[in-house]
Symmetry: C2
Subunit: 393 residues, 2 copies
C-alpha cells in the first residue's frame, strides 16, 4: 500500500537480540504538518523531551525510532544520544536536524548503544527505496507478539487519500499514553491547527480508553504526519471532509488501540467494559477504568470466573457516585446482577459460558444518570507475571 | 494470655470448607467503648452497614464474625441475615441486640447460609468459657496462610493493661481498608472521644500504608473495644499515659499490618518503600503508593530484578512533583541511581543481591523538600494469579 510522499525503512541495528528489526525511519518527501501527544509521566525519556520540543512548531519531515532501549532515565548522556541519532539521520537525508523526530522504546535506564546506531544509520537511509510501513510496524515491537497496522482510505473533494498507522504496546498500557508508540501518516493535506485538535480527540477516544496493567510509561508517543501529497485542498474544520477525516482517523487509532489490548502481555481475553447510567461521562469512565485496572477482576477473567462481585466492588471504590441497591451487571447479554444482587435461575451458568469466550463485554448500569463510557482491557495471567518478572534477563 | 473482662469463642459452622473455624465471637463482660473505621468503598457489605450504625454511639459489648462469605452485594436479604445473626447472638448472651456488632469476610454476592449459622450460635456462645484470642485469629482467615496476632502491655498510673489484636488480610489489600478485618481489645479504660482519635491515627499509620493489590474491598473493618476492666482511671489525651497507649496501639496495628503484607496472596517478598525529599508528606505517600501498586514493579520484585527504571517511572506517574534529574534510588543501602541515572561500578550487581533477600527496602529521594512516607508491599507472583483465578472454584 502506497501513502503518497512517504517512504519507510527498517534495519537490524543489534539493539535487540539478533535477527530482529529494531531501528526504523519514516521520511516525508517534503515537510509535513505534525500533531503529537506524549506521556503524562513526569519522568520523560530523552527522545520524548527532544520530540516535544521539535513538534511544537507543527512541522517535521522524518522520524527515527528504535526498540530494545527506551533511552529513559539516562540524563544528559541520553539527551546527547537522542540528538546525535537525529543529527546522523538528518545528515544522511540532507534535511535540517530540527525536522527529525526521535522515539525509543524498551528497557529503561541503559544508555543507547550509539556505536551500533552510528553503523546502522547509513543502511537505514539507503533502505528508504524499498521499505514498507509493515517493516516499521515490525521494528517497533518489544514484547508484542504481532505487528499492529491499520489503514483507511478517504476522499477530500473527490481526491483520494490514505490514513495509515502502526503501533506497539504490550506492557505498561494505561490511559494518558502507555508504553505505547503509535505513528500515523496521511497524504491528505490538513489544516495544521485543526490537525492538533482532531488528533487529540482521536487519541482520547482510542489509546486513552485502554488499559493492560495501569502503568504509564516514560516513553509514550502518538503522532501523525500529514504531508498533503494527495493534492487536496487542506481539510478544514466544519466541513464534510473534516467529519470524514475525523472518523477515519478515529477508526485507525481505535483499531490499533484494540490490537494493543489483544496483544497485552500474557493476555488471553479481550474485554470491553461499558458503564452506563453514571452521573456524568467522566464518572462512567472512572468506574470503567477501575474495573479495567483491578487485579482481582483481571485474574478472575483469566480464571474464566464470572465473579460479578469483584466488578461491583471495583465500581464501588472507583470514586464514581454509586447506589449499591441500583446496580445492574451484564456479561454480554446475560443479566447476572440487578438491584445490586444476584439474579436467580441459570444466570450464573450462562455468565460462566460468556467468560469462556476469548472476547466478551461487561456492562454495568449505575442507573443514576446519562453518563456512559466504554474502555477495553485484558486479563491478568501467569504469562503477564512471567514476562515481567524476566523482562531484563 | 488474659485480657481482663473479655472472652472469646470460635466454632466450625460449615460456612468454609469442613475442618476450619469460621464463626467467632468476642464478648466484653460489660459494655466497652468502641472505635472503628470501615471501608471507603461505596459498595458496602450488609454487616458493615449494620456495624457502622451500631458503633455510632461509641459503645458495644460483643462482636460476631464469620469467614467464608462476605454477605456483600446481597441487598435486603443480606441486611436481614446480618440482623438475624446479631439477634441470635444477643439472645444467647442475654444482652441487647444493638450491643452486638457483625462482621463478615469471604466470597461476595452469595447469601449467608443462615441455617448453619442458626445451628452454630448455641455452641459458639457456650464456647466462651474456653476460647482464646488465637481461636479468633484462626476463625477469620480466608486465603491467609497464618493467623495474625499482636499483643502489647502497658501501665496507666501503675495499673497494668493489655492491648491485643487479630487481623486477616491476604487479597484486596489497599489503603483505606482492604479485605481486611482487624479486631483489637484492651482492658484499659480509655476516654471514648480520644479513643476514636487515637484509633484513627493508628490506622492511618498502619493499615492505610500497606498495599498488596490495590483493590479496596466491600467489607473492611478495623475496630477496638476498650472495656476498662483493668481498673485504671480512663486514659485522657495529653497525658504520659495517652502517649504510651497511642504508641502501643500503633505497634499492635503496625505489627498486624506488616503481617498482612507478608502473607499477601502469593507473596514471596516483603518490601518497605520509602520516599523522601518530596514537596509534602502527602506527595511522598502518593509516590510511595504508586510504586507499591505498580504491577510492573511488583513483578520485577518477584523476578528478583533490580529494575530501578520501573520504580522511577512509577514515581513519575504518581502525581507527586518530581524533577527527574534529581532522583536518587537505593535498594537497602545500595545506591543504584543518582541524579536520575544509573550509578556505575558494581551497584547493579549489589542491588541484585538485595533483591534476592526475602525482605528489603526501596528508598527514593526526590530531593525537592522535606516530605517523607513509608509504605509496605509485597510482590506479584504466579501464585497471586493462581489464587485469584481459582478463588470461587
Amino acid at each position: 500500500m502506497n501513502i503518497k510522499g512517504f517512504t519507510f525503512s527498517a534495519v537490524e541495528a543489534a539493539i535487540k537480540k539478533p535477527g530482529r528489526l529494531d531501528l526504523a525511519l519514516i521520511l516525508s518527501e517534503k515537510p509535513a504538518a505534525v500533531a503529537a501527544v506524549y506521556t503524562t509521566n513526569r519522568v520523560k525519556a530523552a527522545p520524548v523531551l527532544l520530540s516535544m520540543e521539535r513538534t511544537r512548531n507543527g512541522h517535521c519531515q522524518a522520524l527515527v525510532v528504535n526498540s530494545g532501549n527506551a533511552n529513559a532515565c539516562t540524563g544528559g548522556q541520553g539527551m546527547d544520544d537522542a540528538r546525535e541519532t537525529s543529527r546522523l539521520v538528518a545528515e544522511g537525508l540532507g534535511i535540517p536536524d530540527e525536522a527529525v523526530l526521535v522515539s525509543s522504546t524498551g528497557v529503561i535506564g541503559q544508555n543507547l548503544p550509539m556505536e551500533r546506531i552510528r553503523r546502522a544509520v547509513p543502511p537505514l537511509v539507503e533502505g528508504l527505496s524499498e521499505g514498507t510501513l509493515a517493516d516499521l510496524a515490525a521494528a517497533i515491537m518489544t514484547t508484542d507478539t504481532f505487528p499492529k497496522m491499520a489503514v483507511r482510505e478517504g476522499k477530500a473533494a473527490g481526491i483520494p487519500y490514505v490514513i495509515a498507522g502502526v503501533a506497539k504496546g504490550a506492557g505498561m498500557i494505561m490511559p494518558n499514553m502507555a508504553t505505547m508508540l503509535a505513528f500515523m501518516v496521511t497524504d491528505a493535506a490538513v489544516d495544521p491547527a485543526w490537525l492538533q485538535q482532531v488528533f487529540r480527540d482521536a487519541n482520547d477516544a482510542s489509546f486513552n480508553i485502554i488499559s493492560v496493567d495501569g502503568d504509564t510509561s516514560t516513553n509514550d508517543t502518538s503522532l501523525i504526519m500529514a504531508n498533503g501529497a494527495a493534492g487536496n485542498i487542506p481539510i478544514r474544520p466544519g466541513t464534510p471532509e473534516s467529519a470524514q477525516f475525523a472518523e477515519l482517523l478515529h477508526e485507525v487509532l481505535l483499531t490499533l488501540a484494540k490490537d494493543i489490548v489483544r496483544d497485552g502481555e500474557g493476555a488471553t481475553k479481550f474485554v470491553e467494559i461499558t458503564v452506563t447510567g453514571a452521573v456524568s461521562n467522566a464518572e462512567a469512565k472512572q468506574a470503567a477504568m477501575a474495573v479495567a485496572n483491578s487485579c482481582l477482576v483481571k485474574t478472575a477473567f483469566f480464571g474464566q470466573d464470572a465473579n460479578w462481585g469483584r466488578i461491583l466492588a471495583a465500581v464501588g471504590y472507583s470514586g464514581a457516585r454509586v447506589d449499591q441497591d441500583r446496580l445492574a451487571l451484564r456479561f454480554d447479554d446475560v443479566l447476572i446482577a440487578q438491584d445490586g444482587v444476584l439474579v436467580g435461575g441459570d444466570a450464573e451458568a450462562r455468565s460462566t459460558a460468556v467468560l469462556h469466550k476469548k472476547e466478551f463485554a461487561v456492562t454495568v448500569d449505575l442507573r443514576l444518570g446519562d453518563g456512559r463510557a466504554t474502555v477495553y482491557t485484558s486479563d491478568l495471567s501467569y504469562d503477564y507475571v512471567k514476562i515481567n518478572a524476566d523482562y531484563r534477563t
